[in-house]
């Protein structure tokens, strides 16, 4: 085929400078792939995670009540406002691990496994109905513990009497946190099995799905209160708690909805950055092409080409590269989306139904991939082709008559620098728009990179902040409660324990002014001068020993009960007792449940349980925490001591366990963010490679002169590599300046969306230092190829360059 000469020239230009063409293609591909990967992941997550979750018909609210029969559900379903009501039995149990340690287990029982409509599970293997002496395991626990069909699991409800249950089914339950996050085994047994294990057959939870306003928190609470007041309590069953499932108590929402939304938002912002950077790189490269071809443009114009024709040619140049980049981006983006979705699926325990590329995302990628580069390239093309024929033919490549900037003059005065180094420094500042762009690219990459590190440090700090409320080495719960002095004395008998505090905890509600009730709040009674809590007060003050009628609430409670503030009165209801309190202070977010703190005497009055505590918190050394291993050992000693003393058979919790479970939940998020930061760094590196290539190209003559006056290959390479490093280090300096505000914004946004709380920002200096290392490597790697090209130039080639 005889291709039109114009288009042949363009194709030839693309082909003859493969390095530069590939640079542009890869840049576009990475930006567009990032857009595709992230948007497709967002779509698949919404489709599969949230879709599958709502298919399971999640409970709007769960009502905890005194033992009741199955028939109670019929009464509650009779309410007009209730769409569905189902009973279940939830028992705290333990499973024996390999080394004999007990693992926490939530053992649930429903009347008919084939008729579950609320929080339904999907059968993965075996039978949906647990057999007698059989157990169904949630799949995340089964795979984490490497349990399979037919395996026997040793289960105990009290860590004394054990039962051996055979796994006869593996189910998938999306309505609860997977084992990797909660570290609690979720399992199902039949009522006959539970009876065989020595339990009385009854139910203790009522799952409700409201008929209308499924997402309306106030309405859901109101319906639950009606169920309680009109059906459950009149039937004689005391309601102990009503709780909307999920991290923030939003009915019908996936338990990590907010966190996921936060991550997706950040990812989308990052993909936007990636596309901006790759757009900028296209501008930079096309500018260089135009600089290089300015003489050819002059020649073409001298033989009759009008500007529109030249513009067309370079637009086609960009179009060819963008089509190639986009075509490469499509499979890359899909692969990325596949990877990211599967990582998320593994972490959040959902199934990826199908990895596909829907027309909307395909169009988004095609549109952005083709229109963005062509759109942004319009600017350099229009300005590059504006040059007069005279300037194009005669002025190009002379390089004389440039006005020296103040900076260049300053550099020239650095006389103690070696000439090659001085040349590198001067070269760096010669093409200022390009330097500015390259710097912007690298600075964005660097700022994001160190912002991710700062976010990590801030998160760790945030988790440490949470540690203020678990300021103990070990805590152990005392089911049913025990005398405070007894448990504290018993704990202090263990060698090495200096502090032992008995705390009272119970569930209650806040009675609102309109007569409605909040969902469950945890009411805590603190001993005088409690040391295992170091509250961070966001308003008001902490409790004083002599406080009467005063309470401190946490920020978690304010999220559920907005509008409350210091000085307000609240009415607390525990069982049948109601009492009014004034809020003395607000403690920072706990990341657990809504909590109300009061002095132990107040607590005793409210609950009617004098000097009874429900948990004991111990610490070996005041003011310091033991290592995780020491805490674990202390926990085991405490468990044994309390078991021997017949005070508790519960397993202990250590501070490090509690904190690390929070940290784990965020690690995945940081890995994803780091991945995006690496993509940005790659784009930054490509940008620098391009800029260095252009820099060498533009100074071919100067390099020739260097060679002519005896510069070795090595010196020429050094000039170029040092220039690359100068740009890289300069970008690092600017990154260092902007990394604080960028890190502050990213960490703040991340923590606010994920945790709903204000972050106390912690800057990560190691992050900045890591970026220094990375940017130095980028500087060297990016300039190696251009340096090699420069060193290869012969004096003859350079003389012909004119």
């Amino acid at each position: 085929m005889d291709l039109n000469a114009r288009w042949e020239k363009i194709l030839h230009d693309i082909w003859s400078n493969k390095q530069r063409s590939l640079l542009v293609i890869f840049t576009i591909a990475i930006g567009i792939a990032a857009i595709g990967m992230i948007n497709n992941t967002v779509r698949m997550l919404k489709r599969d995670l949230f879709g599958q979750f709502s298919e399971r018909n999640p409970a709007s609210i769960i009502i905890y009540a005194a033992p009741f029969p199955e028939s109670l559900a019929d009464g509650v379903s009779g309410l007009r406002e209730v769409e569905l009501a189902e009973v279940q039995r939830s028992s705290e149990a333990y499973a024996a691990g390999e080394n004999g340690a007990w693992m926490r287990m939530n053992l649930r029982t429903v009347p008919d496994y084939n008729a579950v409509q609320i929080n339904s599970t999907l059968l993965e293997q075996g039978s949906a109905q647990p057999e007698l002496r059989g157990i169904l395991l949630e799949r995340s626990a089964a795979s984490a513990l490497d349990l399979d069909m037919g395996d026997t699991l040793t289960v105990s409800l009290d860590q004394e009497k054990v039962s051996h249950l055979v796994v006869n089914g593996i189910v998938h339950d999306m309505t609860i946190q997977p084992y990797s996050i909660s570290e609690e085994i979720n399992a199902f047994v039949s009522m006959p099995t539970l009876e065989w294990m020595g339990e009385v057959p009854y139910y203790n939870q009522l799952k409700l799905v409201v008929a209308d306003g499924k997402k309306d928190r106030a309405h859901v609470l109101d319906v639950a209160a009606q169920a309680r007041d009109r059906v459950i309590e009149p039937a004689g069953y005391q309601v102990s708690a009503m709780q909307i499932p999920g991290s923030d108590g939003e009915p019908g929402e996936f338990w990590a909805r907010k966190q996921i939304d936060g991550v997706l938002l950040v990812l989308q912002l990052m993909s936007l950055l990636a596309i901006l950077l790759s757009g900028g790189l296209v501008v930079n490269t096309i500018s260089a092409v135009l600089v290089q071809q300015v003489k050819q443009i002059g020649v073409m114009r001298s033989v009759g080409a009008v500007r529109g024709q030249i513009v067309q040619m370079y637009l086609v140049y960009v179009l060819v590269l963008s089509v190639a980049g986009t075509l490469l981006a499509l499979p890359l983006g899909l692969l990325g989306a596949w990877g990211l979705t599967h990582v998320a699926a593994g972490f959040l325990n959902f199934n990826v139904s199908q990895v596909d590329l829907p027309p909307s995302i395909l169009l988004l990628q095609l549109g952005l991939g083709i229109l963005m580069p062509v759109g942004v390239a319009m600017f350099p093309i229009l300005s590059g082709t504006r040059i007069s024929v005279y300037d194009a033919i005669y002025e190009y490549g002379l390089g004389g008559g440039e006005q020296r900037s103040r900076l260049e003059s300053m550099l020239l005065r650095l006389r103690h620098l070696s000439p090659p180094m001085l040349l590198s420094l001067r070269n760096t500042f010669r093409n200022k728009p390009r330097l500015a762009f390259t710097l912007v690219t690298l600075v964005i990459s660097g700022a994001m990179f160190s912002a991710v590190f700062s976010s990590y440090t801030t998160l760790k700090q945030q988790i440490r902040e949470l540690g203020r409320y678990v300021a103990f080495d070990v805590s152990i719960s005392i089911p049913g409660g025990a005398n405070r002095r007894t448990v504290e004395r018993e704990a202090l008998r263990l060698p090495g324990i200096e502090i032992a505090e008995g705390w009272g905890t119970t569930n209650g509600f806040i009675l609102n002014a309109d007569g409605s009730e909040s969902d469950r709040v945890e009411i805590v009674g603190l001993p005088q001068d409690a040391q295992t809590v170091q509250p961070n007060m966001v308003a008001g003050r902490w409790l004083q020993p002599e406080d009467r009628g005063l309470v401190v609430v946490n920020e978690d409670l304010l999220i559920r009960q907005p509008g409350l503030q210091v000085g307000d009165s609240i009415v607390l209801k525990v069982a049948d007792t109601k009492a009014s309190y004034q809020i003395a202070g607000v403690a920072s977010r706990h990341m657990t449940s809504a909590r109300v703190y009061m002095t132990l005497p107040e607590y005793s009055r409210l609950t009617g349980r004098y000097n009874q505590v429900d948990v004991v918190r111990v610490q070996a050394t005041p003011g310091a925490f033991n290592s995780p291993i020491q805490q674990e050992q202390l926990g085991q000693q405490l468990e044994k001591r309390f078991d021997d003393a017949q005070l508790s058979q519960s397993s202990s919790k250590t501070r490090s366990d509690i904190l690390s479970s929070f940290a784990q939940a965020f690690n995945i998020l940081l890995v994803v963010l780091l991945m995006v930061a690496v993509i940005l760094a790659i784009i930054g590196g490509l940008g620098l490679t391009g800029a260095m290539g252009m820099s060498v190209l533009e100074r071919t003559r100067e390099i020739g002169v260097l060679r002519a006056v005896g510069a070795s290959h090595r010196s020429v390479r050094q000039v170029v590599v040092f220039e690359g490093l100068t740009v890289a280090w300069l970008s690092w300096l600017i990154s260092a300046l902007v990394s604080y505000p960028v890190g502050w914004a990213l960490a703040g946004a991340l923590i606010y969306t994920a945790l709903g709380t204000q972050a106390v920002f912690r800057y990560s200096l190691p992050g900045l230092l890591v970026w220094l290392a990375v940017v130095t490597i980028i500087g060297v790697l990016s300039s190696l190829a251009p340096a090699r090209d420069a060193a290869r130039l012969t004096v003859r080639e350079v003389l012909n360059y004119a």
Binding site: D2, N4, A5, R6, E8, K9, H12, D13, S16, K295, Q296, G298, V299, M300, R301, S302, V303, G304, A305, V306, R307, G308, Q309, S388, V389, Y390, I393, G401, A802
Partner: protein
């Protein structure tokens, strides 16, 4: 001998205000289409070292079919004159009428198109497009100007290459042939759109004497074929075969 423009007898009276205003820019003004007519042309360049008067009150003409050689020392203003005639650069004042068009009154794009159709240029450094083979270097000029049917362009390019003795190299790129051969391609390219006027800026300046002689023969042939030819040169050989010689010294005609 230098022949300055005779304003008394020449019908081309650009300096006559009344006539000038009657002529719309870019339109044909006189029947002498193939010629070059220059009147009171001034051009100076401003450099950090001061102002340089490149052309100072130049008036001259090259009649249709004439072969005019412009000579002068380096810096005399020869290339500036070529750039004024070809519309590559703009004058400070004065008029240039080439092939019936007042070049300096055209916009940049109009000049490009006008140049492509009416004026063939041969540069000292050949200025071929390095990525295209010789045929394409010729067809691209026809393509830009939309001259000839697309099917005709390639045969025409091959024919012209044959005329300059390069038919065997038609599909090579410029870097694969010698400097003299490249200059012949440049001459062929100047002819592709069959312009009435050809100007050449030091066409033999970069060539050895044998190759230069070949290019001179080519130029002579062109002149004999009726094209108006203006050649800027140092080369005494070129000046000797031209029908007329104009000498520039410090931007002025001698």
């Amino acid at each position: 001998m230098v022949r300055k423009m005779d304003f008394e007898t020449n019908p081309f009276t650009l300096d006559t205000p009344g006539i000038l205003t009657l002529q719309p820019a870019g339109k044909e003004v006189q029947p002498d289409e193939a010629g070059i007519y220059i009147s009171r042309l001034h051009k100076s360049y401003h450099t950090p070292a001061g102002s340089i008067q490149a052309l100072d009150d130049i008036s001259l003409q090259a009649l249709p079919g004439e072969f005019v050689a412009v000579t002068g020392k380096s810096g005399a203003g020869k290339s500036t004159l070529v750039n004024m005639i070809s519309g590559i650069d703009r004058s400070d004042s004065g008029q240039v009428l080439v092939a019936g068009t007042r070049v300096q009154s055209l916009g940049e794009d109009q000049r490009s198109r006008w140049r492509g159709l009416n004026l063939g240029i041969v540069f000292q450094f050949f200025q071929l497009l390095p990525s295209l083979n010789l045929v394409k270097n010729l067809t691209i000029a026809m393509d830009f100007c939309g001259r000839y049917d697309p099917q005709e362009r390639r045969p025409r390019a091959l024919h012209l290459l044959e005329q300059v003795g390069l038919a065997d190299h038609a599909f090579k790129t410029p870097s694969e042939i010698s400097g003299g051969q490249q200059q012949r391609v440049a001459v062929a390219r100047a002819l592709v759109n069959d312009p009435p006027v050809i100007i050449a800026d030091e066409p033999t300046g970069n060539l050895d004497s044998h190759t230069a002689a070949e290019i001179l023969d080519l130029l002579l042939e062109l002149s004999q074929s009726g094209k108006t030819l203006l050649v800027v040169t140092h080369d005494r050989g070129v000046a000797s075969i031209a029908s007329r010689r104009i000498e520039l010294l410090d931007g002025r005609l001698q």
